[in-house]
């Protein structure tokens, strides 16, 4: 047999793309860093876990049902979302985490020579999916830590198929208000699809923060992403969704992998949606955690960037990857921000007060 000609088989944009290496399982990390425990403050997970009703679903899931395929298109969950938002069930697509729906949208609209536009310092997956699919990712620098609407509008051309806006932005926590979103959509004028990623929607209490799902009837080119991984504490089950104009979602559906969302995830998400108390409790601990951290960081003289969402970004007087390793040695795992193009910054998930206290103690030890 001739040798495998990988060089010929692999497209150049895949060759030059670096695979994302996720962190090792907790047990392995504990061994590596010689720590008996690990506080995960790196992925913006919910300290309270899933809402009680979702926990019940998970506990009571009959093991025998594991042998049966789930609903291929998350039928009941889409019904529930439709009722909640007063829309048609087919205006929703459920994915194996929001990352999967990003891939659906890019596949549905981009072809050779096309480009997407997003910010340089935001959630990396929009940029990654575009690049490893062979499309250009046009990155517009943030302005005052916020998505730059004028800068993005200037970069649009006939080949721009999708504009991704992370609202509030991960990791800076800044957001566009309703007026700014609407003004942007008017000026895009249906030339491209505009995706507003609202992964942290449920954390935001500001009155001028827009609910973009409510804007869908007005703007057919608008697609909104939401997730059950953050507020609803179902990150381990991987489930997220998109909402949009019926015709647009029907187009995206053509690229959608059916059966990719497992049965427990669908049912837990279904149960989670009703729990307003969980949202209130989560918002309460996030506010307490933010207040505590702000006071402590001011005392320590450390600059920070804090906005909406359950995270804070801190500028350190040392290299962020070194800080990561030193904190790991104390059982605290944060997110280094060099990968987000913020050298010397770490992003910390807001957690319960005892854990926030442990984090501050750890930080004091390493600086």
């Amino acid at each position: 047999m001739r040798p495998l000609a990988l060089n010929r088989l692999v497209p150049s944009y895949i060759k030059s793309f670096e695979a994302y290496i996720p962190s090792k399982p907790d047990e392995e990390l504990k061994k590596l860093y010689h720590t008996p425990f690990l506080h995960r403050l790196n992925n913006n997970e919910n300290y309270l876990g899933p809402p009680p009703a979702a926990q019940e679903v998970i506990k009571k899931f009959p093991p025998m049902r594991a042998s049966i395929y789930p609903s291929g298109d998350s039928y009941y969950l889409r019904q529930k979302l439709a009722n909640k938002f007063n829309m048609h069930p087919d205006q929703f697509l459920i994915g194996n985490g929001a990352n999967e729906v990003i891939t659906f949208v890019v596949k549905a609209f981009c072809q050779k020579g096309d480009n997407i536009i997003t910010a340089d310092k935001t959630f990396a997956v929009y940029e990654w999916v575009a690049i490893f699919s062979g499309f250009e990712a046009r990155l517009v620098p943030l302005r005052d830590y916020t998505f730059d609407d004028e800068g993005m509008l200037e970069r649009i051309d006939k080949k721009t198929k999708i504009i991704f806006i992370c609202n509030p932005n991960n990791p800076t926590g800044t957001y566009w208000d309703k007026e700014r979103i609407k003004r942007f959509l008017e000026r895009v004028d249906n030339r491209s699809i505009v995706v507003v990623d609202e992964a942290y929607f449920e954390f935001v209490e500001k009155e001028d923060y827009p609910d973009c799902i409510s804007l869908i009837p007005e703007y057919p080119n608008l697609i909104v992403f939401r997730t059950f991984s953050k507020m609803y504490g179902l990150a381990g089950l991987r489930i997220g969704y998109l909402a949009g104009n019926l015709e647009v979602v029907n187009t995206v559906r053509k690229t959608c992998v059916v059966y990719s969302v497992n049965a427990i995830a669908q049912e837990a998400a279904h149960a989670a949606l009703d729990d307003m108390e969980h949202i209130a409790k989560t918002r309460k601990y996030v506010k307490e955690g933010k207040d505590f951290l702000k006071n402590e960081l001011i005392r320590m003289g450390l600059p920070y960037i804090i906005g909406e969402g359950n995270y804070i970004m801190i500028k350190l007087p040392i290299n962020d990857t070194l800080a990561y390793r030193k904190l790991m040695g104390q059982g605290i795992m944060v997110r280094t921000m060099t990968g987000f193009r913020f050298p010397n910054h770490i992003r910390v998930t807001i957690s319960g007060l005892p854990i926030m206290e442990a984090f501050i103690e750890g930080l004091k030890k390493i600086l």
Partner: protein, 431 residues
């Protein structure tokens, strides 16, 4: 970069085809006639050598790459036990035997080009790479502008004329400072940046005057070495230095690059972005010596790796891992008499301006100690004072070179995390 490839049976009948291919391709790729002939000569010697030592019905892939400021020829062949000891810079024919003359040819090849390297492309294939760089005219006498201190500046990726100006300003403002010789050559620096193997960012004021800059290049697939930040009449402008470093790091974030490394930091270097990974002593001919703390910045979260550590440097390595909090699975190892061939092979990379040589082990061999001693004799004769030897702790046989290295006067001076298959230890010779 453009490439042309041919696959040829390993038989000397095909030599004219190979030489025509290399010579013509080199010329098309922009190298001057003399350079093309030297590269052709080196390639002819390598091909002839491989025809002689590789038996049977084998095929050789030859890839010629035009890298704008250089042309590379790669010979890709099955890994077999062939004697490559003549690729040592120290090699001389030992007798007038036929084998010695073959080796003489390889020696000619090694000395006709700017760089020669041997790498394992896979478990079965080796790649032998020859690189010949283009010739460029030296920097002409041009009056340089006065650079005032800049309160405000903007960062940019320079156009060709700005790169040339940067190249002219650099030796004037950093006269007594070590940096690669190629940076003094304006045309070459432009081509190096165009090739994308080097990156550059500069800071300019509203009139377009250059207040400073930073240059970086890939050491390998995972590590970038950067030079600077260089500031021209901007002493104390920490903001400019920090912005230049940020530009470099942000440009490399979300790529396969794991770390950035600086061997000769300037006074403007913002240390808070980096970790100190050791110290290099830079020796000058007047016997002056300057200590340079070396800095490293990891761009990815460290998920741990393994290392093979020889006992002789175990305490140094373990102390450094503890200081740098690097999660490593350490396997202590030592040579136990297993077969390793008669002759070791080292590649030597020279930088005459820095009076520096970096040696990298390519193949293990029983003559390791003698081979290092012979190398050191040559460097002494050539009055090269800054000698470094790199050991990859991810390659077990390289750990066995350490005993000989230390016997010859080398000492470990720094660790570059993920600088090789795993961490790279740099040894320095004290003259």
């Amino acid at each position: 970069m453009k490439t042309l490839k041919i696959s040829t049976p390993l038989h000397t009948d095909f030599l004219p085809v190979i030489t025509n291919f290399i010579e013509n391709t080199s010329c098309v790729f922009g190298i001057d006639k003399q350079g093309a002939l030297k590269l052709t000569l080196a390639s002819e010697e390598v091909f002839t050598y491989l025809c002689n030592v590789i038996q049977g019905d084998k095929t050789l892939d030859i890839i010629c790459t035009g890298g704008i400021y250089f042309v590379a020829v790669e010979f890709s062949f099955d890994k077999i036990e062939i004697d490559l000891k003549a690729f040592n810079i120290t090699a001389t024919p030992s007798s007038e035997s036929e084998e010695s003359f073959r080796e003489m040819g390889l020696l000619i090849a090694a000395r006709s080009v700017d760089s020669l390297s041997l790498e394992e492309a896979s478990d079965e294939r080796l790649v032998l790479r020859l690189i010949k760089e283009k010739s460029y005219p030296p920097s002409g006498a041009i009056e340089l502008p006065h650079i005032p201190p800049m309160a405000s500046f903007a960062l940019k990726v320079p156009i060709a004329d700005e790169i040339k100006m940067f190249s002219r300003l650099l030796p004037v403002h950093y006269k007594d400072y070590p940096f690669p010789d190629a940076f003094r050559c304006p045309g070459k620096l432009v081509d190096m940046v165009t090739s994308t193997l080097y990156g550059i960012s500069i800071a300019t004021d509203e009139r377009g005057l250059i207040g400073g800059g930073i240059i970086w290049k890939r050491m390998n697939e995972k590590i970038v070495e950067f030079f600077g930040p260089y500031l021209f009449n901007q002493q104390g402008n920490n903001k400019m230095a920090e912005s230049l470093i940020n530009a470099c790091i942000e440009g490399l974030a979300r790529t396969e690059i794991i770390g950035v490394f600086c061997r000769y930091p300037t006074e403007a270097f913002p240390t808070e972005y980096f970790e100190s990974i050791g110290t290099i002593t830079f020796y000058e001919h007047q016997r002056n010596q300057i200590e340079f703390p070396c800095y490293y910045c990891q761009l990815h979260e460290d998920t741990g790796t393994y290392v093979y550590v020889p006992r002789k440097i175990a305490s140094f390595i373990e102390a450094e891992y503890k200081r740098l909090v690097l999660p490593r699975q350490v396997y202590l190892t030592e040579y136990s008499g297993e077969y390793r061939g008669d002759y070791s092979v080292f590649a030597s990379e020279f930088d005459r301006e820095l009076n520096q040589v970096i040696i990298r082990p390519l193949l293990p061999g029983e003559d390791c100690l003698n081979n290092i001693l012979k190398h050191m004799e040559i460097f002494k004769k050539e009055q090269i004072l800054n000698c470094f030897f790199e050991i990859d702790l991810g390659v077990v046989w390289q750990a066995y070179v350490v005993d000989s290295l230390m016997e010859c006067g080398f000492k470990p001076c720094l660790i570059i995390p993920y600088g090789g298959k795993s961490d790279l230890v740099i040894f320095q010779y004290t003259p």
